[in-house]
Amino acid sequence: MNRSAKSILSLAILGLMTGTASADVIKVGIIGTMSGPYALFGKNFKMGIDAWVAEHGNKVGSHEVEFIYKDEEGPNPAKSKALAQEFIVKDKVQYLAGVYFTPNAMAIAPLLEESKTPLIVMNAATSSIVEKSPYIVRTSFTMWQNTVPAAKIAFKNGSKKVAIAVSDYGPGVDAEAAFKKTFEADGGAVVEAIRIPLATTDFSPIMQRIKDSGADTIFTFLPSGPPTLGFVKAYIDNGLKVGGVKLMSTGDVVTEPDLPNIGDSGIGILSTYHYAVSHDSPENKAFLATIKKGGGNLDDVTMTSVAAYDGARLIYKMIEATGGQRDPAKAVDAVKDMKWVSPRGPVSIDPATRHIRQNVYLRSVEKVDGKLINKESQTFADQPDWALSTK
C-alpha cells in the first residue's frame, strides 16, 4: 500500500468516525416515581425501557436515543410540571414519557403544545388525560378499561350488593363511575361507595363500614403501592374474607411484588387487569428473559415495565417517522393505528383516542410451584377505553 492510498484510507476512516460521533442524540425525558413509597414502579419504567434498548439497540437509523430520568416522588403536580419544564428547556428533550400519577400528567399536559413535545404516558390511568393535549399517547391502561370487565364478572358470579371503595382522586373516581354504571346496568345494586384519601394507611374503619353495609362483594381500586397491601391485609384481618365477602378489584391491588406479603390468605382474590407477570406467551417469556439478562429481579416486575417497554417501542417508531426532527403531529400520527404483539398480548393504538386497546384478563391469586401468581382464567379481547369510546 503506498503512502497516498494509506492517507486516503485513514482519512476515510476518520470521516466515518466523525460521522458517527456527530450523529445527533435524541433525548427522551422520563418522569417517574424513582424514590419514596412508589419507587418500585418508577424503577419498572427503567427496567422496561432498558429491556427495549437491550433488544433493539440505542439507535434509530443514525439517531442515538438517550433516556434521562427524573423523580416525580409522589402525587405532586407542581413538582412534575417543573420537571417537565426543565426537561424541555434545559435538557432539550424531544419526547417526554413516564408519569405514574394522574395529577402529575394533568399538570404536564399544558406544556406539550407550546413546546411541541409528545408525551407517552406509561401509567397514569384517568381516561381524560389523553384529551388534555393532542400530543399525548398512552400505553398503560385506564380505569374504565379494566373496571368494566370487573363489574360484568362480579354480576355473573352472583354478586348482588356491592360496596365500592376507591382512592379519592381522578382514577378512583373513574373506577367508581365505571363499576357503578356497568354493574347497575346489569341489574346489581351498589350499597356503599367510599372514597378513601390517598394518604390513608389504616383501612380498618373502612372495613367496618363495608361490613355494616351488608354488601356481599367489595370492589376496590387504589394506586399500586403500600396502600394496596394495607387494604388487602385489612380485608383479610378484619374477617371479611372468612365471612364470605368477596373482593373484586383491578390488578393494581394485587401486583406481583405484593403477593408474597399478602401471603397464602390472599389465594382466591379476583382481579381484572391487562398484564400478569405470569402471562403465558412467547413474547412475555422473551421480555422477562431480557429483563433477567439485564440484571433485573423478576420478582420486582410489574405492569409499569410492560407499559414502558411498549412506550419505548412507540418512541422509536416516532423517531423513525419524523427522521429525528421535532414534529409532534407527524410523530403522533405515525403511531395511530399501530398494532403489535406486546408481552401482555395483542395491542393496538386507537387512532381516535390515542389510547391503547388491549386484552383484559380475569385473574385469581393462586399458588403455582410454591409461588403466588395472578393466574389468568378468562380473556376479554380488544378492550377500548370505555369512557372515551362511548363519547
Binding site: 423523580d71 405532586n76 407542581a78
Partner: protein, 333 residues
C-alpha cells in the same frame, strides 16, 4: 441573645432605607447572576424563591418569637389555593392575585396564630401540626373547590402590568418573583429592627420578664403570626402564579417540615440565614436529585446530619462571627 438584640439597634438614624439598600442590592446581584448564568433553570429558581418566602415567614415566628411550629405550610397553601381559585374563576391580573394571596395568608396567619400562640412548648407544637393537618384535610375534602388530590390546574395568569407574558421559560415569573422578594426583604429587615420586632425578640428570650415590664405577650405574638402569614401568602400566591398548578403538597406536613429544616440549616433568627438555608438546601436537592434520581434522598439526609453536627446553629452563625471579628478589628485599628 440579648446581646444580639442590642447590636441590632441602629446606632444613629441616617437616611432611611440605607441599611436595607445593601441587602436589596445583594439579592439583585444574586438574582442577576441566576438569570444570566442559568437561563435554563429559571423555572427551578422561581420555585426556589417561592419557597424562600415561606422560610422567611417561618423565621419570623420561629426565629424571632421562638414559636415552635410544624404546620406553617397552612399559610402558604391557603394563599396558593386562594390565588389559584381566584385565577380559575376569572381574576387573572398577577398583582391582584398576589394581593389576594397575601390577604388569605394574613387571615390564615391570624387564625392559626390565635390558636397556636396561646400555648408554649410541646402543646404548641402539637397544635401547630393539628392546624396544618386540618388545612390539608380540608384541601383534600373540598375537592369541588380545590381539585383535591388531582390538584388545582388551569391557572393561567394574565400579563404583568399588561405587558410581560408568563412564558414557558419562566423569565417573567422569575423576574416578577425576584422583584417581590427584594421588596419584601427590605420591608422585613426594617420590620425586624422596629421596636415591635425587638419586642418580639425580647418575648422569645424571656416571656416572663416581658410580661413583668408590662408587655401583653399574646396579642403581639398573634400580630407577628399575621405578618408571617402575609409573607407566606406572598410566596404561596407567587408559586401558584408561576407554576400554574396547586397541589396538596403545598399544604402538606412534608412542606412544613422541609422549610423548618431549611431554616435550621441556614440559621434561625436571621433573615439572611433563612434565605441562605432556602437557597442551599434547594440547590443541593436539585443537583443531587438530577444526578441520581434513585438515591438522592440519602445524600440530602447526609448533608443535614453533617450540618447539624458541625454548625448546630445554622450556617449563618460562623459567617456572622467572622464578619463581627473583622468589623471589630477595623474599628480597633
Amino acid at each position: 441573645m440579648t446581646a444580639i438584640a442590642a447590636i441590632q439597634v441602629p446606632p444613629t438614624r441616617s437616611i432611611p432605607l440605607v441599611r436595607e439598600a445593601g441587602g436589596a442590592l445583594a439579592i439583585i446581584v444574586l438574582g442577576a447572576i441566576g438569570y444570566y448564568l442559568f437561563p435554563d433553570d429559571l423555572a427551578f429558581l422561581t420555585r426556589l424563591i417561592g419557597i424562600s418566602f415561606l422560610v422567611l415567614s417561618l423565621d419570623l415566628v420561629t426565629g424571632y418569637c421562638g414559636i415552635a411550629t410544624l404546620g406553617h405550610a397552612a399559610q402558604f397553601g391557603v394563599a396558593a389555593y386562594a390565588a389559584g381559585i381566584a385565577c380559575v374563576r376569572g381574576i387573572t391580573d398577577p398583582i391582584a392575585l398576589l394581593m389576594i394571596g397575601t390577604f388569605a395568608g394574613t387571615l390564615m396567619g391570624l387564625i392559626s396564630g390565635a390558636l397556636i400562640t396561646r400555648f408554649r412548648g410541646l402543646p404548641q407544637l402539637v397544635l401547630s401540626i393539628a392546624v396544618g393537618q386540618l388545612i390539608a384535610a380540608l384541601a383534600n375534602k373540598l375537592s369541588w373547590l380545590t381539585g383535591g388530590s388531582d390538584g388545582l390546574s388551569g391557572i393561567t395568569p394574565g400579563k404583568v402590568f399588561g405587558i410581560y407574558n408568563f412564558d414557558m421559560y419562566s423569565r417573567t415569573a422569575y423576574l416578577f418573583s425576584l422583584a417581590v422578594l427584594v421588596i419584601v426583604f427590605v420591608a422585613l429587615s426594617r420590620f425586624v429592627r422596629s421596636p415591635f420586632g425587638l419586642l418580639c425578640r425580647g418575648i422569645k428570650d424571656d416571656d416572663l420578664r416581658a410580661k413583668m415590664i408590662g408587655v401583653s405577650v399574646y396579642p403581639r405574638l398573634v400580630l407577628m403570626y399575621g405578618v408571617s402569614g402575609a409573607v407566606a401568602g406572598v410566596g404561596g400566591a407567587l408559586t401558584a402564579i408561576s407554576t400554574g398548578v396547586v397541589g396538596l403538597d403545598s399544604v402538606s406536613f412534608e412542606r412544613s417540615a422541609e422549610v423548618l429544616v431549611m431554616l435550621v440549616l441556614g440559621g434561625a433568627g436571621h433573615l439572611w440565614g433563612a434565605l441562605a438555608g432556602a437557597l442551599i438546601f434547594q440547590v443541593f436537592e436539585h443537583i443531587v436529585s438530577a444526578a441520581n434520581p434513585f438515591h438522592w434522598m440519602t445524600l440530602v439526609g447526609l448533608l443535614l446530619i453533617l450540618i447539624v453536627v458541625f454548625a448546630p446553629r445554622g450556617l449563618i452563625e460562623p459567617v456572622l462571627s467572622l464578619v463581627a471579628r473583622f468589623t471589630r478589628k477595623g474599628r480597633a485599628s
